[in-house]
Amino acid sequence: MIEDKLLVFQSKRGSREALTRIYEKYKRDLLLLAMGLLNDKTAAEDVVHDVFLSFVRNLDHFRLTGSLKGYLLTCTANHARNWNKAERVRGSAGRVGSAHRFPSNGEQEGGHSPPCEGAGRALVEEPLETLVCNEQLELLSNALAGLPFEQRQIVMLHEHGRMTFHAIARSMQISTNTAKSRYRYGIDKLRVTLNGEVTKCNQQTT
């Protein structure tokens, strides 16, 4: 906390090292949140990029009153929501899904039918991919993609960002009870969607 205050202060004074340190410290949290919310590596990277630029541009007026991580996570969720809205508009205009999105179960790259029986998941990344996700994140992202964005946002901010329902509710301008109920709905749907995959995955990694 004190370190974050110092880093923000130094960044305001133009310290490249301090800004780099902030990025290095929180990039994984932000990328993971963005990936969980958008299920698209390119978009996740773009969102974190925009969050950082926006953070720098608003440094003059920025006052750290709570947790820097919480602030950046909320910004990431907001940017992701905007991206998601824009994507829906683009999608309704006939755009084909992003190339970097993980296909859901049974779904293949770009919406094509499976290449052959038993072909399993398609693969989408380039050899020098900019972001690498482990299989748990692939599983999680695919499952989260089935939830409404608001539920995804609350599940991820609460579970991944360790934010309280009160803080989430305040950032989303909703009541704490609404945040809690959206979280419950989200978790229930995830349980149905994952349908034993989580346990299987946990067994493999423990």
Partner: protein, 572 residues
């Protein structure tokens, strides 16, 4: 267990790793914005003013370190000459003394004097008085001594390739060139060098050009001019097997000297480092203007002026060290340039902050677009046709040869395998096969996977799935869209997962057979490790990957390249 606990665990086990490429993009833009903010702001003192009010600086030490790093590796991985009489003294020498000039030889260009014994070099530079560096290539360490201030700085170099002996490398250069079928020698006749007749030879190789002048009477080499990339290095006043006092090469700090230590990663330099160096050179050493050039030779010529400027400024020790480190990283970007083709610098006379003036552009490896740096140090991705100037005629992009049909029955290509070690003890294999040739009219391509127990999961061409059918244990037929192949994209992506427990082991080393899917003319294996896996790489990766194997098939396409270790070990 509650479902929320399972999902919570899944979230906590989820991991994402960004590559240097992603970090660079995000950070470079954020830092450029920070810079804009800083330049436009009048509320806070800038670095320039902080520097102006600081105490004395000794830029010399930092500069000598830079030179040691930039030139210590001068002959690594390059080529040489072949006229037995002239090179014999070099091949048989145990010690040497030589002068080095980088770039054009004129009174403004500093001369570096190297004394070489085994893996140690004692280096002085004539425009940096009172400073000497002892470079120990064996331990990758430099001891830089400044007599005036009685300061000693140890610099530990990280990321150095193995260099057993500096002089041996020069020897290797000559021997390798002699053995190369592409090597050509041309006689240059006789001319006077330093008052004596010398016979000249020009040795040409596709990657290098070396001119060697030898004494016409004794046959001893007197001058070597080596062109490596865009850098010309001249070695002159050569003396071999001169007795030298071992104490001159001691890595011990002399009595009465203060001691400092620093580390330098030679392969960690990024575009952001280069840009930061441009800022420093303009803001601190250039009175707000960018330097005339950014090549190593330009830096060499400006050392004296920078040193003078540095002394006037005055800096606390910490800032001096930081500045030196930043300049090193700036120069390393150019010295070990890893982009495709050439870089272009047009910053001469441009004022820092001129947002419309492009000052530097280059094409990163595997990128279709160029990175263009502007006078306010923001960076844009620009298509080749929109560059500020046409490319140099000799800066030709590598031509991609498309798929061709031929009368032979085989499919032929090249293959690169990317193995990602996953947490559950498996490797996800993505094999990229670039198809070069195939039999006329045949669209069904047989492939054989290296491990029958690891079945093929998917095949993609240009991100679209292809149909395939299993024909036997580990063998498949893939249906190729010939019209699409003929139109351009020829890179096929195959994916399968293989269990690490199915792979052969040799002690603690996990190995794999090197077997391509179809006959290939070259094969490479790259390995990366998921952060959640219980393995780690045994070698520093380049980006995400290490390359345990890369090889060609000069006698014709083959499918087997032996076996090799995966360069992974249990996480420690």
């Amino acid at each position: 267990m509650q479902p929320a606990d399972d999902i919570r665990r899944l979230i906590h086990q989820s991991q994402i790793t960004s590559s240097e490429q992603a970090d660079r993009r995000i950070l470079a833009d954020a830092l450029a914005d920070l810079e804009k903010r800083r330049v436009s702001s009048t509320a806070h003192p800038g670095v320039w003013r902080i520097v102006m009010h600081s105490k004395a600086i000794q830029f010399a030490a930092a500069a000598v370190v830079v030179l040691a790093v930039l030139l210590g590796l001068q002959f690594v991985g390059t080529s040489g000459v072949t006229f037995a009489q002239a090179i014999q003294p070099i091949l048989s020498a145990n010690t040497a003394i030589l002068d080095i000039v980088v770039g054009v030889e004129d009174p403004n260009t500093p001369v570096i004097r190297d004394m070489i014994v085994g893996s140690r070099i004692r280096r002085t530079v004539d425009n940096i008085e009172g400073s000497v560096s002892i470079i120990d290539l064996e331990s990758s360490r430099i001891l830089s001594l400044t007599e005036k201030t009685k300061e000693a700085v140890y610099v530990d170099l990280k990321g150095l390739p193995s260099i057993p002996n500096y002089l041996d490398h020069l020897k290797n250069v000559f021997i390798k060139l002699q053995d190369s079928p592409h090597f050509e020698i041309q006689g240059l006749g006789t001319k006077q060098i330093d008052g004596r007749a010398a016979v000249g030879f020009l040795a040409r190789h596709p990657n290098a050009e070396i001119t060697l002048w030898a004494d016409a009477k004794t046959g001893l080499p007197v001058r070597i001019e080596q062109k490596e990339g865009r850098m010309l290095v001249i070695c002159k006043n050569l003396q071999f097997d001169v007795p030298m006092d071992e104490a001159l090469f001691s890595m011990e700090v002399p009595k009465g000297y203060s001691e400092q230590k620093m580390e330098m990663d030679l392969f960690g330099s990024t575009e952001a480092d280069f840009i930061e160096g441009l800022r420093i050179r303009a803001e601190i050493f250039g009175d707000g203007r960018f330097p005339d050039g950014v090549g190593v030779e330009d830096f060499m010529r400006s050392i004296e002026a920078m040193q003078g400027k540095g002394e006037k400024l005055g800096l606390p020790k910490e800032q001096e060290a930081e500045l030196g480190m930043k300049m090193n990283r700036h120069l390393l970007f150019i010295r070990f340039f890893r982009g495709e083709g050439k870089w272009y610098y047009r910053g001469q006379g441009v004022q820092l902050g001129e947002a419309e003036a492009p000052i530097f552009w280059y094409r990163p490896k595997d990128s279709a677009s160029y990175r263009v740096i502007y006078g306010d140090l923001h960076v844009e991705d620009v298509a080749p046709e929109n560059l500020p100037e046409p490319l140099d005629p000799d800066d030709v992009a590598e031509v991609t040869i498309g798929y061709q049909q031929w009368s032979k029955p085989d499919f032929v290509g090249t293959q690169e395998d990317y193995w990602m070690i996953l947490p559950e003890g498996k490797a996800r294999v993505k094999a990229y096969v670039t198809l070069l040739k195939g039999p006329t009219g045949v669209s069904s391509m047989p492939v054989a996977l290296p491990y029958p127990s690891a079945p093929l999961e998917a095949v993609l061409l240009d991100r679209e799935p292809l149909t395939f059918q299993q024909t036997g244990e580990g063998t498949y037929n893939v249906e190729l869209p010939l019209d699409k192949l003929a139109a351009g994209p020829v890179k096929l992506l195959f994916q399968w997962h293989v269990s690490l427990s199915d792979l052969p082991r040799e002690g603690d080393t996990i190995k794999t057979v090197l077997k391509s899917l179809i006959p290939v003319t070259s094969y490479a294996l790259k390995v990366g490790v998921d952060p959640g896996s219980s393995f780690e790489l045994t070698k520093e990766p380049e980006g995400l990957w290490v390359t345990p194997f890369t090889g060609g098939a000069p006698k014709g396409p083959v499918t087997t390249f032996g076996s090799c270790g995966l360069m992974i070990r249990a996480r420690q």
